[in-house]
């Protein structure tokens, strides 16, 4: 076993070059000003009205997106669980298929669908309904997020549900539990690890996204991701951009810790 340790060298090099060093750089820039002196201003900048507003908006939208994804994905995963392997696999394929196309292209497609003079407007006109473009509203952004991140919720749920021992469920009904009780007392608690990883995989990218809000938000909606991106690209202030990224990382870590705590509680009570 030890002899094969060197096999991990490529990964170690990769991790140092592309994870550790960039993190240290962000830490360095985040705690220095333009003149290179130490400051915590870039961190406390999160409390300025523009930044905290954007952060709250991001938290709100990504939370909403996560809930919508969970509500959409759980029933699908439950249905797929009861299908035989081939069928289930095929449906999963259909869910994953769009991911083979570039993320930007798919979001542009939504822009073309929803925008003025877009396909949806023309369709509504032809059947006599009036449609006002939702581009530039929160709804458009939620739609874009859910569309792009839904597979990340379905996959872990599907995995955890298909691997669930059918005997446990049979035992529950043998012991007199009805379908609802079986679900709340057995299936749901056992699927918590899937929910946790699904929630994390949807919540984190939607909290940090800036492309979706840029394209579908008509640049009217500023999320914390947009603020950070523009600190680098427009304001030429990598110090403030790094500082705000650090704050965002703390938020992600905190929310992950919170979710995992709930996970443990869930498992604890089910045992």
């Amino acid at each position: 076993m030890n002899k094969k340790k060197w096999l991990s060298t490529p990964y170690l090099v990769w991790m140092i070059a592309f994870t550790i060093i960039p993190l240290l750089l962000i830490g360095y820039y985040g705690f220095t000003g333009r003149d290179g002196s130490f400051t915590i201003e870039n961190i406390t900048a999160i409390f300025s009205p523009a930044h905290s507003k954007a952060l709250l908006k991001s938290l709100y939208l990504s939370l909403l997106c996560t809930i919508v994804c969970l509500i959409l994905a759980y029933p699908v995963a439950l249905i797929l669980k009861n299908k035989n392997v081939g069928q289930g696999g095929f449906v999963i394929m259909i869910f994953i298929l769009p991911m083979w196309m570039n993320f930007l292209l798919r979001t542009y497609a939504w822009l073309n669908l929803l925008d003025d003079g877009g396909i949806i407007e023309r369709f509504c006109e032809s059947i006599g309904i009036s449609y006002t473009s939702i581009i530039g509203t929160d709804i458009a952004i939620i739609l874009g997020m859910v569309y792009n991140f839904l597979p990340f919720m379905i996959l872990p749920l599907f995995n955890v549900l298909t691997k669930m021992d059918q005997h446990v469920i049979n035992a529950a009904s043998d012991l007199g539990a009805n379908a609802f009780q079986t679900f709340t007392k057995v299936v749901l608690p056992l699927s918590l690890p899937g929910i946790v990883s699904g929630v994390t995989m949807v919540f984190v990218p939607s909290l940090t996204t800036f492309v979706i809000s840029d394209l579908l938000g008509a640049r009217k909606v500023m999320l914390i991701g947009n603020i950070i991106e523009q600190e680098f690209s427009i304001a030429d202030n990598r110090h403030l951009g790094s500082g705000l990224s650090l704050v965002l990382m703390i938020f992600i870590l905190a929310s992950m810790a919170l979710i995992h705590r709930y996970d443990k509680n869930g498992e604890g009570s089910s045992l």
């Binding site: 930044h51 530039g136 008509a218 640049r219 009217k220 427009i234 304001a235 030429d236």
Partner: protein, 352 residues
């Protein structure tokens, strides 16, 4: 099914890798004779690039950007990334101050004689001894409006705050341009460094936010052509293209005044192909090439010799070639220093 998709995947990725290789061999094979050009998107007739390569044997590596700020972020991180770039007035001033540009050896650019001397004088406003900049295009910022959706004669920036056009206004998404509109409406200089004036301008822009349909830069043009909005703040250079596509569009520079902008070619201080860059400048200042570019991008050219070949109809249209009266109402942007720039941006974030 799975096997098939696997094979398709392999084929796709292989073909991607191959095209990657081909591109690389192209640019690296002749690395001793290249010029790396960084320009605005859609800001040159692509035939001109091919013609330059053919006539000089120099390979052009061509990339594009969409805001001055994006350009600055790239060049300040590594001035040798590109040889020749095309920023606007205030950005040229900033780059000169930060030693990011190299002086042009005008002996290698004899075609500079074709440029309107009046324009060279205006350039000296931000490039004091005309050492760095070959002016490429110039124009104003104004309101493009759809005459089928707007009944009144537009003369003032006020219309952008008119409730009747709620959700029918497209505003510029770049910091300085947006503030220029508000500052001019308030009767201040668009180079204001007065915090109270800026605060007022910010509040004004904030009050405009609910009326704005979208903030955009390059997309203003397409949205206006499609009739997605009644009013849009746009660069005069886009006007010709827009009216050709949609004859209902008209352009006005409001009476309160506006921004006169000049985009120019400059050479980076890190340029490793300075002579090739100067050949590029000289080529672009040739009258036939300047004319070709004008006809393609429709932004006014300061090239006097090329102007003589442009249709009278265009030359006399102040929306295309701003006349003296318009220019006198306008101001050129200046670089206001890092601190002011941060303040502008800080305020801009509060608008949205």
């Amino acid at each position: 099914m799975k096997k098939q998709s696997f094979i398709v995947g392999i084929v796709l990725s292989l073909s991607l890798m191959l095209t990657g290789c081909i591109d690389k061999s192209n640019s690296e094979g002749t690395s001793n004779n290249v010029v790396k050009v960084y320009n605005w998107g859609d800001y040159i007739d692509e035939d001109v690039i091919a013609q330059f390569e053919e006539e000089t044997g120099i390979t052009v590596i061509y990339d594009t950007f969409s805001t001055n700020e994006e350009l600055y972020a790239k060049i300040s991180s590594d001035p040798s990334l590109y040889d020749v770039i095309c920023p606007s007035d205030y950005m040229i001033e900033k780059m000169i101050q930060n030693n990011l540009l190299a002086k042009i050896n005008w002996d290698n650019v004899p075609n500079v004689k074709n440029i309107d001397p009046l324009m060279m004088k205006r350039v000296s406003d931000f490039d004091s001894n005309n050492q760095y900049t070959l002016p490429y295009t110039f124009g104003t910022v104004g309101i493009l409006y759809n005459t089928t959706m707007v009944d009144e004669d537009i003369t003032s920036w006020d219309v952008l705050w008119d409730e009747t056009y709620k959700n029918n206004i497209i505003m510029q998404d770049s910091v300085r341009d947006a503030f220029a509109v508000a500052l001019k409406k308030l009767g201040y200089s668009l180079n204001s460094t007065n915090e109270h004036e800026l605060e007022e301008a910010k509040d004004l822009l904030r009050s405009q936010y609910p009326l704005v349909k979208a903030y955009a830069i390059d997309e203003v043009r397409d949205k206006m052509i499609n009739g997605a909005a009644a009013l849009g703040v746009i660069y005069s250079g886009e006007y010709l293209y827009c009216t050709e596509e949609n004859p209902d569009l008209a352009y006005v520079v409001p009476e309160e005044g506006s921004n006169l902008w000049i985009d120019g070619w400059v050479i980076t201080s890190g340029s490793k192909n300075k002579e090739n860059a100067e050949k590029w400048l000289n080529f672009l200042a040739r009258p036939d090439i300047a004319l070709k570019n004008f006809e393609y991008i429709t932004y006014a050219t300061p090239n006097k010799a090329a102007q003589e070949m442009v249709d009278e109809e265009y030359l006399e249209n102040p929306a295309v070639f701003p006349d003296e009266e318009t220019i006198n109402r306008c101001e050129v942007f200046h670089y206001l220093g890092q601190e002011m720039e941060d303040l502008y941006y800080e305020m801009w974030k509060l608008v949205k």
